[in-house]
Symmetry: C2
Subunit: 398 residues, 2 copies
């Protein structure tokens, strides 16, 4: 992918770049010194062992890591396979059965491939925390636990809130921050980065390193990108995300849906566009700013060549035209059929009565013309559409 | 030792015997059924891995265990060597350095020898919980921790109180009840007994056995014997104890010091004397009741032959006489010496000035006569005494 990297960093340039985006740095002085020392640093980022689906939210720290790589540092991903393989011992979250060794490795490989869209694979390492946590015995666990008091663990917001709301906290859960922190000890990490929701866990690593006689890692937290709903943080499970693996058309369309109020943050956190440029765009025309953002993102992840087609498709949809897309879904039937039946069979309506309701509501078109008649039939090839962006090509064979 | 065991138990006799002394039984129905089933049961008692010094407080559950042994059941001691070898990982209690494997085994052996004064060694087994806890890895620990919630562990009084008083609780400490409970799982214990201060931990064992698919053990808690101070529970560290290993003379003397208000409990919990007998004694003359108690205890732990000498020594001390004891401490000097110097050299006074203060206070005697003169000297064999029970024989050689 085309990644606009500013080139070699001198003096405090890398530190200043990071600071502009970071929410918190513990400590600023420490980070400045480490960057200035001119030695390759080990920079840690934890990763979920479940199958990753990276989106623009993940790209916020990843893009910063890329800048650190370009300055000569090494990125180490820690796949938390150990807890993934243990599963939830309390049996409360039935939705997450324990993962096998093979699954965690396959997911790690997939993770590596996806981050390689942003990072330099040659300076990127994937590790699995079962490598050290799996070797600890009960005595080692007690030693680790002895480094922390209940009161300090309970400072973590979610523990505090659940405890005071009398919601159950499994004793094993208290270990997860310690395990994540111990990963920093095992790796002798110099820096750990994460989202602001990880601040507590990242600082546990810093504390534990001191307890184990190491120089405490510098901790950098990055903002959480708001999702397309403009409310929650971007996440796959909330379906408010722009995946970095998505095809150009879907990516373009989703970029156009970024809430107006969030667009400045999207520019700032997910692109390298200079501040004065996007501020100018935002000040002039918010719709044109969206187009500029969509073009920028598609270029970053698919190259400039992918823009034209993705943009054209978006404009077609927006104007109510069927997109000229060879990959449009197609339903091939023999003979004529009622629009009601076709809507149902094409998946545009849940049932015949749903289809009738949609027609009655004026939301169904044939070749761009609104269907008014509930008994309308189609007897030659046509594009059936629902709303602005659901299209199915109907092919009639005889 | 002479142990007055009631013979074979029939029907509910063993259950009734236990219930008369027990504070709580979880559950009474379950225990009754187990005893009635006529199968040998595994009865667990946890033991501290530090060098034991068993006293009459320990004898309360041990005497009940003996009765269970006589009914055919097996007693299994679990020496908590695992935690002893780990030590305190938080480093807070510096007083308890980690123990070596050899120390824990030597202490276990000593424990076995001491409990053999009350129990039948042939039906007594010593186990060490490192045998199973030492084999658990981090994943096993998480599984164990996942069986319990923070809220349930925090029901334990000392955790609750320390947490609300903002006193530090090391995270490792939360594991100790789980480890003790897991011992019951590893042993598949049928019954666990302990003092009332262990109730929480014993019930954790019961809960965990259910979680691991076992029949939950019956739990019997026994009262804590008050110490000679009549306030705290009997314990070596508070120096308010009667050790079962102490010589008859010391034992007799300590029995005479049992607070009047506690004597009924001492009879009930540490002897087999029928209730109507000791109630009669207590109603008649509290001092004679003390003598009867002292004779009973000395007989139990040293045999009837030891009574006379121990009682005579006590009576001598009580009347201010030097006891006729060949083992009396002796200081042999040449020539004459001042009482002040002798008090110091015999260890009856900390310093010459301390010795002068004692003489001035009227607390020092030579052969039963109070010394009035600060410059008094001794030039022939004599017994020097301080207060009612500290005597040193002075031998003069020329």
């Amino acid at each position: 992918m085309a990644m606009d990297i500013a080139g070699a960093f001198e003096d405090n340039a890398l530190f200043e770049t990071v600071r502009r985006v970071a929410v918190d740095i513990f400590s600023e002085e420490g980070l400045k010194k480490r960057f200035a020392a001119g030695k390759p640093l080990k920079i840690k980022l934890g990763a979920d062992p479940s199958r990753p689906d990276l989106h623009l939210g993940h790209s916020v720290p990843l893009r910063m890591l890329r800048k650190m790589q370009d300055a000569g540092h090494e990125i180490i991903f820690v796949i938390g396979d150990f807890t993934g393989m243990v599963g939830d011992p309390s049996g409360r979250s039935k939705a997450r059965p324990p993962m096998t060794y093979e699954e965690t490795r396959a997911n790690g490989q997939s993770y590596f491939e996806q981050v390689s869209k942003i990072l330099d694979p040659a300076k990127t390492q994937i590790t699995y925390n079962s490598e050290w946590l799996g070797k600890m015995d009960f005595a080692d666990v007690l030693k680790l636990a002895g480094k922390y008091t209940l009161a300090r663990i309970m400072e973590r917001d979610d523990f505090k809130n659940r405890f005071s709301a009398s919601q159950p906290i499994g004793l094993h859960e208290l270990f997860y921050p310690l395990m994540q922190g111990y990963d920093s000890v095992a790796l002798e990490a110099d820096i750990e980065v994460g989202g602001t929701d990880q601040t507590f866990n990242l600082l546990v690593g810093r504390e534990l390193q001191k307890d184990y006689g190491q120089e405490p890692q510098e901790v950098i937290t990055f903002p959480l990108l708001p999702g397309l709903d403009g409310v929650e943080k971007m996440s796959k499970s909330l379906d408010n995300y722009i995946g970095i693996d998505e095809p150009p058309e879907a990516m373009f369309e989703k970029c156009m849906k970024v809430p107006d109020s969030a667009l400045r943050d999207y520019f700032r956190l997910t692109t390298d566009m200079p501040e004065e440029v996007y501020n100018g765009l935002l000040a002039q025309d918010i719709r044109e700013a969206h187009f500029a953002y969509a073009r920028e993102i598609v270029t970053m992840y698919h190259g400039e060549g992918a823009i034209e087609r993705a943009e054209q498709r978006y404009r077609d949809i927006a104007s109510g035209q069927a997109p000229d897309n060879e990959n449009m879904e197609t339903l091939t039937i023999s003979g004529r059929a009622s629009v009601v039946e076709l809507l149902r069979r094409a998946g545009l309506a849940a049932s015949n009565s749903d289809a009738r309701r949609l027609i009655a509501g004026g939301g169904i078109k044939i070749n761009g013309e609104t269907v008014a008649d509930l008994d309308a039939k189609i007897d030659s090839d046509a594009v059936l559409s629902r709303g602005k962006n659901k299209f199915v090509k109907i092919k009639i064979i005889n």
